[in-house]
Amino acid sequence: MTKNSIFLAALFLVLVLGGAIIFSRNYGGDAQELIIYSGRNEDFVRPLLDKFEEETGIRTRLLSGSAANLGHRLVEESHRPQADAFLANDAGIMEFVRREGVLTPITSDRLEDIPAEFRAEDGTWSGLSGRARVLMYNPELIDAEEMPQSIFDLADPQYHDQFAITRSGNASMVSHIAAIRNYAGDEATVELIRDILANNPAITRGHSDIRRMVGAGEVKFGLVNNYYYHLQLHEPRHNQVAAIYPDQEPEQMGVFVNVAGIALVDDGPNPEAAQQLAHFLLAQEQQKMFTEVSKEIPLIYEIEVPDYALPIGEFRQAEIPLNELGEVWDDTLELMEQAGYAE
């Protein structure tokens, strides 16, 4: 045995032992830290958590991933919950998780500030910021009059090869389709999806891709949450974009408004700190911060909306209660698959 290999063997031994210690310490359900599963972009959440830590002295651990994935994880872990709070970018997934019985009600008195349509009936989750599903376009390539004025216009063959949508697995997309089902029925929805796909849209992994594509003129328009449009307006380049709020006529569906919010996990390792986090995030000050950091729209009417955004109430909104979306969540994925919208 050469000296070299003894050294290497020792090195590996240290690695294994060190790893075992670090792994079990960091991921073994530590009661000292508030563990937050987040389906939102880390950059949007981090500033708020930093402020929370500063004000309360509670340490947080932010574990980011896809909301749908983390939601399913919460259900799988329900016999031994690992997380305290769940920040999701979609009401449908929060409602799905609630129906699986893994959430506990938020006790904060500030919950009442949020309009009832944007929170769970039993108070287990609450929206913190709003996002409207809009059609963002590049005015250099297409005029406002030529743009589709309704989601259902996306099926029109004249828009062949001209727009982008996200993958079917995107939580916002699933909830949007669920809302369309609620409005138009299953058959019409399947037909709509088929016709949209026949138009050969670019299918992206997320909305970030779409806003960049529209900004750079790779596609004429795309279906996004409105804050992606706001974010693109603030880019140093390719920021000449505009947006259509579809389905505004009285007989039409209206714009589907979804929320990002917080849900509290039942029997989590650190329930009191979790309640404190909910109470903190529900404060107007923090909600204002959301609109500044991620450029979403506030749910509380009193909060002032920056001039680039349309506040809730100034456009016609689809009358679909968010707390009915969870019921059809998994089902909607199947319907989308049936229509050929699978990935």
Binding site: M1, T2, S5, L8, A9, F12, L13, L15, V16, G18, G19, A20, I22, F23, S24, Y27, G28, G29, Y37, N41, R61, L62, L63, S64, G65, S66, A68, N69, L70, H72, R73, V75, E76, E77, H79, R80, Q82, A83, F96, R167, S168, G169, A202, I203, T204, R205, S208, D209, R212, M213, A216, E218, D330, L333, E334, E337, Q338, G340, A342, E343
Partner: protein, 542 residues
């Protein structure tokens, strides 16, 4: 007394029969010590676990799910996966075999250097390669900005995806053709020439047929890789079985659809694997022991410089571009402060997972290699096959099998990074097994006998004689596992606990957000670490 003995006789006979069957049938007369069995059996079971669990899970899926998936998903996925595999295989074979021919049989300038330089793209993980192509040729890439329109469609396109994959997969065909070309007998060619064939005719009628098995094996290796790739395919938004299984696993509560897709992918993989093993068996065309004459070099004449230009171009795409682009963006990223404490956290995570996977692989390879080389019969072979199969299985499949098993039986582990370590152990143990076997093959069984005749127990023989002698081989295998784990993407993405980011995961997620400057430093580290073990890979091919 007598009566009692008689009473137990049938049991004794059965027992004797079982023991006999165990020893003679399963081990051909040499059953291993209990200690060795105790070490190897759990390894074998763990290795078979992902595959077995996917089959069980898919079997339990209800008929409606089966028909839905079979009718709605399979036809399109089959076409997309197979057309991509075919395109990359054909292009990779032409590129790989052509380059091998150039460096071995012609007077290409600098051919000794090119011989190993052209194998380097093998070290570039295809997802990093895809990212560079996106940065350069993508819809917002450098070339596109320069020309005002994209040179060719990169996303969602069979052409774009196969082009990218070809540049990073051709070395499979290249290396195996290179190896085979150097063993083509000069005697045969000389005989053919003396019978009056021209050099061109010799190439077509003697050399090319001799290369056929190598081309077959190389092509199948490429196809096997293409059907298993996740990163590049997903980054280029092309849908294959692997990416579809990934999205089904992450976005759904009901995973039986993913399991069914996985079963189809397993069948495809096994078919390719079977063909590959068969083509390898027909490998020995050339008489090895005869005196090798120097092969006659073909003089390229005025084609010398064009040939060199093509070689340089391919090298630039496969190696220059990834290193150049990632280097450029790394500097940019470092200027913007990408090397913060979080970044070092990602490095630590990567090194820990890779180090643990490597260490466990090295420990596990030891008894397995020993068992395989010192014992005969179907049992050791079964064990080896259970291990080797995982090398060909796509990472998503292994991850999916582990998710099914662990979320059901050992869910406490699903919140730790241990699952990644286990997945990489299962996936990459074949690598350390191979290099361990190679070094043990050089040790005569006489050494064992000598040890035992000096009064050592089998365990002492293993630890005090065999272990020190094969350690270098095992170490080399460990280094390979380390780097493979560092590069690993799909299983890490599927199995990581929330918030556990490794370098590969960062490359994936930052690239998705379009933050190239933040993706590049991590990619550059992976690239650098990947080049190192190529030395071992190349040695293996000699």
């Amino acid at each position: 007394m007598n009566k009692a003995e008689n009473k137990y006789q049938p049991f004794a006979a059965i027992r004797r029969g079982m023991l006999n069957w165990w020893r003679e049938r399963l081990w051909h007369g040499r059953s291993p010590s209990t200690f060795l069995l105790f070490l190897t059996l759990p390894i074998g079971l763990l290795m078979a676990l992902p595959l077995a669990y996917i089959l069980i899970y898919a079997w339990r899926g209800d008929a409606a799910t089966w028909t839905r998936v079979l009718n709605q998903r399979i036809p399109a996925l089959l076409w997309q996966t197979m057309s991509l595999a075919a395109a990359v295989t054909i292009a990779g074979l032409i590129l790989g075999a052509g380059l091998a021919f150039l460096v071995v049989r012609t007077d290409l300038p600098g051919r000794r250097w090119w011989r190993w330089l052209l194998a380097l793209p093998l070290a570039v993980p295809p997802y990093v390669g895809a990212l560079t192509f996106i940065i350069v040729f993508g819809p917002r890439g450098w070339i596109t900005e320069l020309l005002g329109r994209p040179l060719f469609p990169l996303y969602e396109s069979l052409f774009g995806t196969s082009l990218v994959l070809t540049f990073f997969c051709y070395p499979y065909a290249y290396l195996i053709t290179l190896f085979s070309l150097r063993r083509v007998s000069g005697n045969l060619e000389e005989a053919a020439r003396s019978c009056g064939l021209s050099l061109k005719q010799v190439m077509l009628r003697v050399t090319l047929p001799a290369l056929r098995p190598a081309l077959g094996a190389g092509g199948l290796l490429i196809a096997l890789y293409v059907v298993s790739d996740f990163g590049a395919v997903a980054m280029l938004r092309y849908n294959t079985f692997v990416s579809s299984i990934y999205y089904q696993t992450t976005g759904r509560f009901d995973r039986s659809g993913a399991a069914i897709l996985a079963v189809v992918l397993i069948i495809i993989t096994f078919t390719l694997l079977y063909l590959e093993v068969r083509s390898r068996k027909r490998f020995n065309y050339a008489p090895e022991h005869t005196v090798q004459r120097n092969l006659q070099l073909i003089h390229l004449g005025r084609w010398r410089w064009p040939a060199l230009a093509v070689t340089i171009l391919i090298f630039l795409f496969g190696v220059g571009l990834p290193f150049g682009v990632m280097g450029y963006w790394s500097i940019e990223g470092i200027r913007q402060g990408a090397l913060d404490s979080r970044f070092f956290g990602y490095i630590l995570n990567s090194v820990l997972v890779a180090g643990m996977a490597a260490a466990i692989c090295m420990l596990a390879a030891l008894p397995v290699v020993y068992l395989r080389s010192r014992h005969a019969g179907p049992m050791p072979r079964m064990l080896e096959q259970a291990i080797m199969i995982n090398y060909a299985l796509p990472g998503v499949i292994i991850a999916l099998g582990l998710i099914f098993f662990f979320s059901r039986y050992l869910s406490a582990l699903t919140v730790t990074p241990w699952l990644i370590v286990i997945a990489c152990f299962i996936r990459f143990l074949p690598q350390s097994l191979r290099s361990g076997s190679a070094s043990l093959a050089q040790l005569s069984p006489r050494i064992d006998e000598a040890g035992q005749s000096l009064g050592m127990s089998p365990r002492q023989v293993l630890w005090r004689l065999i272990f020190p002698l094969i350690l270098p081989g095992i170490m080399a295998g460990g280094a390979l596992v380390f780097v493979s784990t560092l590069k690993e993407l799909p299983a890490t993405l599927l199995l990581r606990p929330p918030g556990f980011d490794t370098l590969a995961v960062r490359v994936w997620s930052e690239a998705h957000e379009g933050f190239y400057a933040r993706a590049a430093p991590a990619a550059m580290l992976i690239l650098t670490a990947s080049v190192l073990p190529l030395k071992y890979l190349l040695r293996e091919e000699k």
